[in-house]
Amino acid sequence: MQVTRFPVRARNTADRIAGFMAHLRLNGLSVGVAETEATLQALAAIDACDAGQIRSAMKAVCADNADRYARFDELFTAYWMNAGRSKDGKAEASTHQETASGSRSRFGILEETKRTESVGNHDQPDEQDSDEEVGSSGEGRLIASRTHQSERQDLREFVSPEDIKRAELVAERLARCIRDRRSRRRRMARRGVGLDFRRTVRASISSGGEPIRLFKTRQPDRPVHLVALLDVSGSMTVYARVFLAFLKGLVSADQRTDAYLFHTRLVRISDALRDRDTLRAVNRLSLMANGFGGGTRIGTNLARFNDQYAAQMVNGRSVVMILSDGYDTDPPNMIARQLERLKKRGCRIVWINPLLGWQDYEPVARGMAAALPYLDHFAPANTLEKLGRLEPYLARI
């Protein structure tokens, strides 16, 4: 998480709140001027000397979904309480000249914790060791709240512009062939292809049995949407590059596509991938992907997906695409149980396994073997080209 220090210029409460809003935006909350205004109004409505109250109040105003609501406390502490760890010598220069004394006492907590660093680098990330050098490039540095895996790989090297371009082409084609589905039922439509005989005959009664007004029907579109879960554990590292590019392509092809990464944890990356600014997207990804290249817990992550996201994201018109080699450290029956749960939502499940492309590969990984009965399609793919060849299969499911 990036921690923003107070700029020296901050002179009043509004300024500081604006700084906090910038910090929230940096961490993925969608807050704007309206929220800043509401926060200030909220501060007036509560006892603004109580940190707990301020936290609750800001949380109610700024967080707008369950995810962000759960993360808010952490962000709040990181911003307002973090300065306690900064060097004392510099922390002095904070109490400001012309700040009205009234406002200072009213916003006790803001005052007390707002120690400013004299070099007011707005975007500088938090340092855990104060003697560590921070590059002046202003790039975010990763601070894992809980480190699952010491080896951390930057996703930047995994996504090159050419890859994205190629993957986008393949992915877009795939996404389209999966998405375009017609309903089997026919509905009335002004510009339909077939005749609605029932209705036409009924209407013909008023004209003495002469079918003058013709009613038509067509099969309405029932677009299918994709949910992709990508395994980025150690055993998948070689393929992660191409798959990630593929995911980016899928997500940009269709607004409703949803994408997740998992290793020991599950992270939703749809929003990050959708970011127009590729570099920023990759930065956000690397923030989320601490633990990239570590062990896998497929069962646990599927369970988490079922608990947290499936209710909203998966229905009878979804295709869940799991990209993983099936090597798992969880008990094998766990995958089967979670897939069964997922299957109950009526979705189709496609498992794409890069190892399957090898000669003589049998799904011996026990988790994989247990998962087989629940899969609608089990396909090999270890390169972009092979992914592209999935098209006819996916069109049929």
Binding site: A42, V61, A66
Partner: protein
């Protein structure tokens, strides 16, 4: 009114709210914004609105959302039958068509639905829009318009301004994701299952006279049950039902009567799968732990 007062008022009315929830409620009143509550089923989201109406001593107007809910059943509708009758009567009397039109598009022929009703009250009511995520996205967009201006325009009549600004509570269960536009206009709170102490307090409020030891066992049991792998976790409402059931059955100690305990679980477990997941042994283990 400060939020501490609000909290004690809520408690007095029988609703034990967490700090975050109380603050959200307080702010939505102070800022005049709608309050959006999310959380699992049965954590008491709807009850917030009911309690609020009670402590404010105003009407509760409820709009239950469902798929296909449209403006006609949420905002207003013309009373067509009555209009037709009136036209028929008027033509018999030989009234001119302009007069007929004037007559049939008047307030007398307007059926007000919850949203229109809410803004026409004398005292500001509590407007509960329940399970907004079940309604279609088009309706959500319409709702945005009503909630931001608190006025409703009826083409035949003109614009109806709010006589009082209702206090709006929206609840959602996560059937689908709500639009950002709606979220941003609201004060948000995510309601969690209450912790042990809160739940005891709730039980004490709602089922007074329950044996203190049994109350603790009940809460302990339900809290442990929520940690099990269930499709549908029991909420506060289920807990209260169960407590009432146990009191009615004359149970004094959960661990003593396995058969009754197992039978009474119908109050807590609402699917076949969950029933199968908690056989007598598991129930006994949980009861043993809770005791």
């Amino acid at each position: 009114m400060t939020w501490i007062d609000l909290k004690s008022d809520l408690a007095a009315a029988g609703y034990i709210a967490s700090d975050d929830l109380t603050m959200a409620l307080h702010l939505s009143m102070a800022l005049g914004r709608p309050l959006l509550l999310e959380g699992a089923a049965g954590v008491g989201k709807t009850q917030v609105a009911k309690t609020l109406a009670e402590i404010k001593n105003t009407n509760l107007i409820r709009l239950q959302c469902y798929e296909g809910l449209d403006a006609a059943s949420a905002i207003y509708e013309w009373n067509y039958q009555r209009q037709l009758l009136s036209i028929r009567a008027a033509t018999d009397q030989g009234v001119s068509s302009d007069d007929i039109e004037e007559r049939i598009f008047s307030e007398k022929f307007l059926l007000s639905r919850p949203l229109l009703e809410a803004i026409r009250q004398v005292e500001p009511p509590v407007l509960l829009i329940d399970e907004i995520d079940r309604a279609d996205e088009e309706f959500e967009a319409y709702l945005l318009e009503v909630l931001s201006d608190f006025q409703i325009s009826i083409p035949e009549l003109g614009t109806i301004e709010a006589t009082s600004r209702p206090f709006v509570v929206l609840t959602a269960n996560g059937t689908r994701d709500l639009s950002d536009a709606l979220r941003r206009r609201c004060v948000y709170s995510f309601v969690e299952y209450p912790d042990r102490r809160t739940e005891l307090a709730i039980l004490d409020k709602r089922c007074p006279g329950l044996n203190a030891r049994l109350a603790e066992q009940i809460v302990g049991f339900v809290q442990a049950l929520r940690k099990e792998d269930l499709e549908k976790k029991p909420g506060v409402a289920e807990l209260l039902d169960w407590a009432a059931a146990l009191a009615g059955l004359g149970v004094n100690d959960l661990a003593q009567d396995p058969v009754t305990l197992q039978a009474s679980l119908v109050c807590l477990l609402k699917t076949q799968g969950d029933r199968a997941a908690i056989p007598t042994e598991v129930a006994q283990r949980l009861a043993g732990k809770a005791a």
